[in-house]
């Protein structure tokens, strides 16, 4: 309407749309290229079935309990879990050991406490309120014992790695003989799923390396699966409660939104 006399700017619509399409294609092709590059560098982790996945996922109680056994008998020699307490083993949504069992498990460890009336520190058996006892006094001691490498704390390790459960599971099973021509330094091991295929942690899971108290056959896959389940719970101890609540919240919101949709419709019915 304004400036009707002016010459219309010559910019055909289809060329603009073509340009947008080109841009979108470019973004997609670049991102695909990117993922191919990454894939060439690192192996895609194995994707086993996890009972805790999905909107109604739950931990398998028996697997969590076995996973705790794998952690204490295999991992805890080097890896701490500073954020966990023995009382967590009893809590709902976790391994749900009985209080008696958990007390006995805690009592297998000693903690320094005090000072007593003479001002001396002393050792006592761990109780439910104690944190998981760390294998090391401090980081320096851990490094000194592990050729300079520091075994990370495992409390939230699953959330600290992309595709956490799949990655941990794959890593534990990823030890292979290094292909010919691969040079490995002392204290470095070949693992298909580690960054650069090298890792300072040796293979720890061997068939029948432990004897499950519930009689399950201790295959490598079984142990890896159980301990990963346990570590997922330790990283996300409220997972079951969260998903249960989420289901209720969303159903509630859906019903309310449904009601408001029709309320809104009826309010606007007479407005044109």
């Amino acid at each position: 309407m304004r400036r009707r006399g002016r010459r219309k700017l010559l910019l055909p619509q289809h060329s603009v749309l073509k340009f947008i399409k080109f841009l979108v294609l470019l973004i997609f092709s670049v991102s695909t290229f990117q993922s191919i590059l990454i894939a060439a560098e690192i192996h895609e982790p194995i994707r086993p079935y996890w009972s805790f996945e999905g909107p109604l996922g739950k931990f398998e109680r028996a697997s969590l309990q076995r996973g705790y056994q794998v952690y204490t008998e295999v991992c805890s020699g080097c890896h701490s879990m500073d954020l966990l307490s023995y009382r967590n083993l009893v809590q709902p949504g976790g391994p749900e050991f009985s209080e008696k069992q958990a007390k006995a498990m805690a009592a297998m460890f000693e903690v320094e406490t005090g000072p007593d009336q003479d001002g001396e520190m002393f050792m006592r058996s761990a109780i439910l309120s104690d944190k998981f006892v760390s294998p090391w006094e401090n980081e320096q001691q851990a490094r000194a014992a592990n050729g300079g490498a520091y075994p990370p704390d495992l409390s939230v390790i699953v959330k600290a790695r992309p595709n956490g459960p799949d990655y941990i599971y794959s890593l534990l099973l990823g030890y292979k003989d290094a292909p010919e021509g691969t040079e490995l330094d002392d204290g470095v091991y070949y693992n298909e799923y580690a960054k650069g295929m090298r890792i300072a942690m040796p293979q720890v899971l061997y068939e029948d390396g432990i004897e499950y108290t519930d009689g399950t056959a201790a295959t490598e896959e079984q142990m890896a699966h159980d301990v990963t389940t346990f570590l997922t719970w330790s990283a996300e101890p409220k997972l079951e409660e969260r998903k249960r609540m989420g289901f209720k919240v969303i159903i509630y919101l859906l019903i309310l939104a449904f009601l408001f949709y029709f309320t809104n419709k009826s309010i606007w019915r007479d407005t044109h």
Partner: protein, 417 residues
């Protein structure tokens, strides 16, 4: 705001005579005349208010349990996740709430850009909005530092280091910000303090934002003024209260989806590793909502230049009411602008993608082109369009296009009958 509200009860009369709060709310939240043709893109103002209040309430409770100390921050957050009653819920709402807040604010701004809501007489509403956006950026950035994970620490290091690009005083300013010679406890404590303060400043600006909005009233999809005393407007309540609540509920369903089913999807896994000043992560990436601006920062080969461009990218928004020379507000009636609008949006998303990629090779080149285009849109395209674009004829009133459609439909019905 005119209102025909008369307090009825003795208590209401007593209060209203001394402080006309009820009259105020009645005028602004009940009778406020609102254009009847607002679409769902207009519901994001209400959604944003919800986001702000949610962040303040959850943040308040989190602050009761959080410890702002470099040695304790990380484990205090995990304490919230594990031992505080519903602490996991509060934290996941707060962390995802920041993302939802930014989704909503970007949509809100995109709506404003499309329908020309920043134009005369609404320039101040827009400018206050730009300041709210700036404060949101600062608040979100400082909030992300608080859990003291690897990304918190290194993000804080990268961003505070930007101040060292300031000539002459750069280093002194950076040390002053840090309260020391590196990122550590003093910075964490002051970030916590500011992170607590800024939302209340945002709240104050939101009141000004709404106040300024209620002077000329809402813009609308047609981008034309409402005819006073006509059928163009409806009272805010119940028409828009109910519509906004419905939109909010849909928004909350998506929000709840994130909080309850993928609470860590929008975060970075490295932030579950406690901050370690001796170990730099492979890629330092900010939260997704900063990525376009991060891409602009890195596109410039010079540190100071990058900082200036990044700040300008946001500051230029404040001048938008004068950079856009077209008198026609809505893109519905601006065929050329409409195309450039979508290109601008695509370019902005492209910048976001580039911000997440490593700053090397082809990415740097594309980043530079996209950065240049971002500014060209504001400095060249928008001013020129106002002069060369042939806009479509505007309807006389909001009711006109609606009635026309109806008439046409009626005619078509009689023709086929």
């Amino acid at each position: 705001m005119s209102t025909d509200y008369k307090p009825q009860s003795a208590v209401a009369k007593w209060i209203d005579k001394r402080l006309p709060l009820i009259t105020l709310f009645n005028g602004h939240l009940m009778q406020y005349p609102t254009p009847k043709n607002l679409n769902y893109w207009w519901t994001f103002g209400g959604i944003l208010t919800f986001c702000l209040v949610t962040q303040i309430i959850t943040g308040l409770v989190l602050a009761m349990h959080y410890i702002a100390d470099a040695d304790l921050a990380f484990s205090s957050v995990e304490h919230i996740m594990r031992d505080v009653n519903y602490g996991w819920l509060l934290r996941y709402i707060h962390a995802n709430g920041a993302s939802m807040f930014f989704i909503a604010v970007y949509i809100h701004m995109a709506r404003s850009l499309f329908y020309g809501s920043y134009k005369e007489p609404r320039e101040l509403i827009w400018i206050i909005g730009v300041f709210i956006f700036l404060l949101m950026i600062a608040t979100a950035f400082m909030g992300y530092v608080l859990p003291w994970g690897q990304m918190s620490f290194w993000g804080a290091t990268v961003i505070t280091n930007l101040f060292s690009a300031i000539p002459v005083f750069g280093e002194s300013i950076t040390n002053w910000l840090w309260g020391g010679y590196s990122v550590g406890s003093p910075l964490l404590t002051r970030f916590f303090t500011l992170h607590y303060l800024l939302p209340f400043l945002i709240f104050g600006l939101v009141i000004l934002h709404v106040w300024a909005l209620h002077v000329p009233g809402n813009n609308n999809p047609e981008g034309i003024d409402v005819v006073q005393g006509s059928q163009d407007t409806v009272p805010f309540h119940p028409h828009y209260v109910v519509k906004d609540v419905f939109a909010l509920l849909v928004f909350m369903i998506i929000f709840a989806g994130f909080v309850f089913f993928t609470p860590n999807l929008l975060g970075h896994t490295d932030n579950y590793i406690q901050a370690n000043p001796l170990q730099t992560p492979e890629h330092i990436v900010p939260e997704w909502y900063f990525l376009p601006f991060y891409a602009i920062l890195r596109a410039i080969p010079d540190k100071l230049g990058g900082v200036i461009m990044m700040v300008s990218a946001i500051a230029i928004l404040a001048f938008l009411p004068w950079l856009d020379t077209s008198k026609v507000r809505s893109a519905k009636y601006r065929p050329l602008f409409k195309q450039f609008y979508w290109i601008f949006l695509a370019n902005f998303l492209l910048l976001g993608y580039l911000g997440a990629m490593p700053a090397e090779g082809i990415y740097v080149i594309i980043s530079r082109i996209a950065t240049i285009y971002y500014f060209v849109h504001f400095i060249i395209i928008l001013p020129v369009l106002g002069f060369v674009e042939k806009t479509k004829p505007l309807p006389k009133s909001i009711s006109e296009p609606v009635l026309n459609e109806k008439e046409r439909a009626a005619k078509a019905a009689t023709a086929t009958a």
